[in-house]
């Protein structure tokens, strides 16, 4: 585990500065992992649905090609969605006089609570 995504330094952080840096690093690693996990799950779900309508004894070459395209397409769309959403949130936050529109919108996702689990 520690060799795969762990911190590069093996010495135990001692000073306040070192501990802070270690916590930040761990936090960012976990956030990135959480984001990747969400993406992998969604790509798997939607590309399986789109590319493997009737599962055979193995993935065909055609299905494999479809999966590659699908994955690229899903990520391309993720970037468009992200850009559009962030722009819109900026506009709405301004319109609402500084109220965080992203926090408001996240209520409509039906997810239990935001924060993607970093805060435990």
């Amino acid at each position: 585990m520690s060799s795969l995504f762990g911190s590069s330094s093996s010495a135990t952080p001692q000073t306040s500065e070192e501990i802070k840096a270690a916590v930040v690093r761990q936090l960012q690693t976990e956030a990135a992992m959480s984001n990747a996990r969400s993406l992998i799950g969604k790509v798997n779900k939607h590309c399986f649905q789109a590319c493997v309508p009737t599962p055979g004894t193995s993935l065909s070459a055609k299905e494999n090609t479809c999966l590659s395209s699908c994955m690229e397409k899903y990520i391309a769309m993720w970037n468009v969605t992200s850009r559009t959403y962030i722009t819109r949130v900026g506009t709405e936050t301004k319109r609402l006089g500084g109220q965080d529109a992203a926090a408001i919108a996240s209520m409509a996702t039906g997810q239990p609570e935001g924060g993607s689990g970093i805060l435990g």
Binding site: T84, Y85, S106, A108, G114
Partner: protein, 88 residues
């Protein structure tokens, strides 16, 4: 995780800074989760034909943008309606 961190050794200043970083990461995570949700909804609405390429064509991209904006319209409208109901 891999190393035991003694948080009691943190200075007040570093604690404050860490708190700020934590809040920022939480907000970022929140936005990312919403984007994941939105992308899923819009994928289902906008990618309806067979997948033949790894890029979005013009109409798919336009659909994705409209989808996000109309979803925002919808959620803001619903929250507004709920807010109005609460006031009566």
């Amino acid at each position: 995780m891999e190393t035991q961190l003694d948080l009691t050794k943190l200075s007040e200043n570093d604690k404050k800074e860490l708190n700020q970083v934590l809040n920022n990461e939480a907000q970022k995570g929140n936005i990312q989760q919403t984007v994941h949700h939105l992308n899923e909804v819009c994928w289902q609405k906008c990618i309806t034909s067979k997948i033949t390429s790894g890029t979005l064509d013009k109409s798919e991209e336009a659909c994705a943008q409209n989808c996000v904006d109309r979803w925002m319209d919808t959620s803001l409208s619903i929250l507004q309606k709920l807010e109005n109901m609460r006031g009566h």
